[in-house]
């Protein structure tokens, strides 16, 4: 990057739990986000899990 002002948007590649968290944090901090996901819906592997420990919360 030279001295010019950077572009205030971010591309997030992958719409699993990690990508979603990055996208939300960036949007909440004042950046426009493009969230790219190769399947028809976001959610990733975590959406497939039944429950998560230690609380045994439903992953959904």
């Amino acid at each position: 990057m030279s001295n010019k002002t950077p572009v205030g948007s971010v591309l997030v590649v992958g719409g699993g739990i990690t990508g979603m968290q990055s996208a939300l944090d960036l949007a909440d901090a004042g950046y426009y986000v493009y969230l790219v996901e190769e399947s028809p819906a976001i959610g990733g592997a975590m959406a497939q899990l039944d429950k998560t420990f230690p609380t045994n919360d439903c992953s959904m």
């Binding site: 968290q21 901090a29 493009y34």
Partner: protein, 933 residues
């Protein structure tokens, strides 16, 4: 609204540099118009083409037009071109014929989208190891050998068998299931992966515990493992609980799986510790498959031009854990290395922080806020209620008599308008609702449709577009709670729908507009603790333009990292620390207070006030957020002659005094000293890696020195496993001991003697040790004061407790407060750095705003009725209600609305009923209840 979702898309090229990248995205056609699709499901119902459902790991079928799963976002159907009969054979188009909104677009084509972005974050994830490539796992051959991911779907209430656990061979409930660990991990025999996948031990325990809940007390689960790696926060307790609940743990690697009868029962052959051969039958076998970078993720990484490591994970360093080899491109999650959900979420926020630092000059330039028309005052108006009874296609209309329900509603008081839209949520119905509200001057809206959980925000936005306050809205769930569950009795379903609508209308009559609530944000930060975590957090905030004050208890910055030579992957920690301290000292936005302690704090998100005593001087600091980075230290012990004999040392004592090692003929490391026992029922996470690294260093320098590591389970998780392998290759001797028979260190005229029982040889060994180094537990710094000042919780071991173990690993439940580093849990330097950056990233979501909107559904005290008993203050988990001394009236409760989460604990505990919850006032709820009975 500032996140644009591009599904069915992948990156095909990138050019430019950090701050100004041009990226080309290829988007495959969905063949369904997202604007028009209302996800009614008619298309999938009519579609004649069935195919294997990957979301259910192939255990169920789905149609060629589908949503991946019921809660999918976006909840829009898509056509799988390879399975669609029309695309394959040129005929069908059933979906198009039956779609009520004409959303099917067979002529949609692939398109290229060009984006201009300042930064890229790669989070393309992992794929579970596919065991079919090796026949010894028998997954492809035997129906009752399944993967852990398949078992997740079997357990799931939303899965292919509605949560009913049964064998795939004959549908019978299993009585015995074996989990086999390290499938595709920690194994090079068959060209599997040599690293540890980090998560499988814990998920296997979870699956066995949940399976036991499903199958009852007679169910006998067994987990076959090499080392049990429950190194995460509260994982060890979960492991112990599983043992108590009857999960059997067998330390052995199963070598043969055979099918013994036509029903599919399986026989496992394995060897015990003592070498005895055991043959045991099981109804099912679950393979605990490891993680690999997904092929598509590797492709994306290569397209973006970032370097990969030898396992194809994206290459990073321990001192900048989310930075890739290309400036401006960051990585987070399982594509950076195998890891669990909390660590992935931590890295996600850390990567967001990094991108935020590189783009801070342009923050806020491309985002927009939604604008609504001015709110109409309805205070002096009599209620004019509009009722919209949705048909939801045939979901509601096919069962309940919707016109009858609407007619009934029209006859109830204050209802001046009713309508029966086919789909109330469709765009045209929403537009019409806005018109109708204006035209009929409606001031309360009731929608009788589906669940408010998914649709209330949408309707609230619609009525705001018509100038109404969002809280003049009520929903009656006549689909999920009525027509879906009473589909067999249309008449009674209609009657119940009327009841639900009547309740909603009675409540709506009493609804009141609730003004939005916002607070100003002080844009500076307080960081408590000047170790690596605290300094990294402060620097990450200052680099985004926010001022930060570090409060350090001692006279120096650096914390526990001052004792550490190298990270587990070899980076020089002292050089890193020196650079970090220099940057802190030179940064114009950072103030450091040493010999300083927090002595009092008050306030709430955006507006905290903290008193700090630094020597003689008292500082009063105003700040918008606070980060707790108070650190931890290695515990002292009175075991193994520590403190009594000069040759018994702990942690980094050895490497910091290399002269001690020079003449040592034998060195013994003892692990788990004070960890994983009754007093500290947790694993200190980093000790195995540290001792193994030190052992390797000794062997490399002095190959003739005998080095022993006495351990309970070796927990070199993730890519750290390589160190364990290297240590064994270099001749380090690993001897396992159990909590019941710990090693014994004695002083003799002959030097130190270490006695330990070897479970493989079944003999007690005597080791003459010149040096004994202890991996004592890592404990948090005393946190009680800080916890009390800011009203944040600590767990039983005094580590700070985050808001949610999985999804909010750096937030406290109270807004504006964050945690990182050893104060949260023992962790390695790279993990502390990532968590500190994550805390700064999360904090930036507060500090970036001038004001923050807070949910106005808060507690409201009627002070005339309050007797100042203090019960509400006592029960409030968020410090959101305090007692105030009012002149002449004694104590009265006072709401701190900015901290209130609207849970209602205060209202339900108040003996004088002096507290109401806005939007859920007693009279509103009573009106709905009275309407029901």
């Amino acid at each position: 609204m500032n996140i644009e979702l591009l599904t069915l898309s992948k990156v095909t090229s990138i050019s430019g540099d950090s701050g100004d990248f041009t990226v080309i995205i290829k988007q495959s056609p969905r063949f369904v118009d997202m604007e028009k699709c209302i996800a009614c499901g008619t298309c999938a119902e009519k579609c004649p083409a069935k195919t294997s459902d990957p979301f259910n790991e192939g255990l169920a079928k789905r149609k060629a037009i589908y949503v991946p799963y019921a809660q999918a976002v976006p909840l829009k159907y898509a056509i799988d071109k390879n399975r669609c009969i029309y695309f394959q054979k040129g005929k069908c188009r059933a979906c198009e014929k039956f779609c009520p909104t004409n959303a099917i677009k067979f002529d949609e084509t692939e398109k290229d989208i060009t984006l201009n972005v300042g930064s890229v974050i790669l989070t393309a994830g992992f794929t579970p190891f596919n065991p079919d490539r090796f026949d010894n796992y028998q997954h492809a051959k035997f129906p009752n050998v399944i993967t852990s991911m398949e078992f997740e779907r079997i357990l799931s209430a939303g899965g292919p068998f509605a949560g009913h656990v049964h064998r795939l061979s004959d549908g019978k409930e299993p009585k015995k299931i074996a989990w086999l660990q390290c499938v595709g991990s920690r194994d090079l025999n068959r060209c599997d992966n040599e690293y540890c996948s980090s998560v499988c031990c814990m998920y296997a325990i979870k699956e066995s515990v949940i399976a036991k809940e499903h199958l009852g007390p007679d169910f006998a689960p067994a987990i076959f493992f090499m080392d049990m790696r429950t190194h995460g926060k509260d994982f060890e307790k979960y492991y112990e609980r599983a043992k108590a609940q009857g999960v059997r743990f067998v330390r052995s690697r199963v070598h043969t799986i055979t099918e013994i009868d036509e029903t599919g029962t399986l026989n496992l052959v394995y060897a015990t510790d003592t070498g005895e051969r055991v043959s045991e039958d099981f109804d099912m076998v679950v393979l605990s498959v490891g993680m690999e970078p997904a092929a598509s993720a590797i492709e994306a990484a290569k397209t973006l031009g970032v370097e990969l490591n030898s396992y194809q994970f994206v290459k990073t360093s321990n001192i900048s854990p989310v930075a890739t080899s290309r400036k401006g491109i960051y990585v987070a999650g399982a594509l950076q290395g195998p890891k669990d959900i909390p660590q992935s979420v931590v890295e996600a926020s850390a990567a967001a922080c990094s991108a935020g630092i590189s783009l801070s000059a342009s923050r806020g330039t491309l985002v927009k806020d939604k604008q609504f028309p001015a709110e109409r005052s309805v205070q002096d108006e009599k209620p004019r209620i509009g009722v919209f009874v949705c048909n939801c296609g045939i979901n509601i209309g096919g069962i309940a008599d919707v016109p009858a329900v609407a007619a009934y509603a029209r006859g109830l008081g204050d209802v001046v308008y009713t309508e029966e839209p086919l789909f109330a949520c469709s765009q045209d119905a929403q537009d019409k609702m806005v018109e109708v509200i204006r035209e009929h001057r409606l001031n309360r809206i009731v929608v009788a449709a589906c669940t408010p959980r998914t649709h209330e925000p949408l309707f609230q936005e619609t009525i705001r577009n018509a100038g109404l306050n969002a809280y003049l809205f009520e929903m009656a769930n006549i689909r999920n709670q009525c027509t879906w569950v009473h589909s067999g009795d249309k008449e009674k379903a209609t009657e119940k729908a009327k009841d639900l609508v009547r309740m909603a209308i009675r409540r709506a009559m009493l609804l009141e507009p609730i003004p939005s609530l916002s607070v100003n944000v002080n844009k500076s930060a307080l960081v408590i603790g000047g170790g690596v975590a605290g300094m990294t957090a402060a620097l990450s905030l200052a680099d985004q333009g926010f001022s930060a004050t570090i409060v350090e208890r001692s006279g120096n910055l650096g914390g526990s990292a001052r004792d550490v030579h190298a990270t587990w992957s070899g980076e020089d920690v002292q050089q890193f620390l020196k650079d970090l301290i220099d940057r802190i000292n030179q940064h114009p936005l950072i103030t450091v207070l040493t010999w300083a302690q927090v002595v009092d704090a008050s306030g709430f998100v955006g507006n905290f006030e903290t008193r700090v005593q630094a020597g003689e001087k008292t500082h009063i600091l105003q700040h918008g957020i606070a980060i707790m980075a108070t650190g931890g230290q290695a515990a002292v012990t009175d075991e193994y002659l520590f403190g009594k004999h000069p040759a018994v040392t702990r942690w980094h004592d050895l490497e910091n005094n290399p002269e001690k090692l020079t003449d040592a003929g034998s060195v013994v490391f003892i692990q788990c000293v004070g960890s994983r026992d009754d007093k500290r029922p947790y694993c200190s996470r980093v000790c195995c890696t540290t001792s193994v690294s030190q052992a390797i260093a000794i062997k490399e320098k002095q190959p003739d020195t005998d080095v022993f590591i006495l351990y309970r389970d070796i927990r070199t998780f993730g890519e750290r496993e390589v160190l364990y392998k290297k240590a064994r290759e270099k001749g380090v001797i690993f001897i396992r001991y159990s909590l019941e028979s710990k090693p014994v260190v004695t002083e003799t005229p002959d030097g130190l003697h270490v006695r330990v029982f070897d479970p493989i040889l079944q003999k007690e060994l005597l080791i003459h040790a010149d040096l004994v180094n202890l991996a004592t537990a890592i404990e948090p710094s005393p946190n009680a004061d800080i916890a009390a000042f800011y009203k944040v919780p600590v767990n039983a071991e005094n580590f700070f407790m985050e808001a949610h173990a999985k999804l909010r690993p750096v937030d406290f439940a109270s807004d504006g407060l964050f945690v990182c580093g050893l104060a949260h849990y023992p962790k390695s330097l790279d993990e502390s750095i990532a968590q500190a950056m994550a805390a700064a990233g999360r904090a930036a979501t507060v500090l970036a705003r001038e004001t923050i909107q807070i949910s106005p559904l808060v507690s409201q005290v009627n002070r005339d009725m309050c007797i100042g008993c203090g019960l509400c203050t006592e029960v409030c988990p968020f410090g959101a209600i305090i007692q105030e001394d009012v002149d002449g009236k004694g104590f009265k409760a006072k709401n701190i609305s900015a901290s209130c989460k609207g849970c209602g604990l205060c209202a339900s505990s108040c003996p004088k009923k002096a507290i109401d919850m806005l939007h859920f006032r007693d009279d509103q709820i009573v009106a709905a209840v009275c309407a029901a009975v």
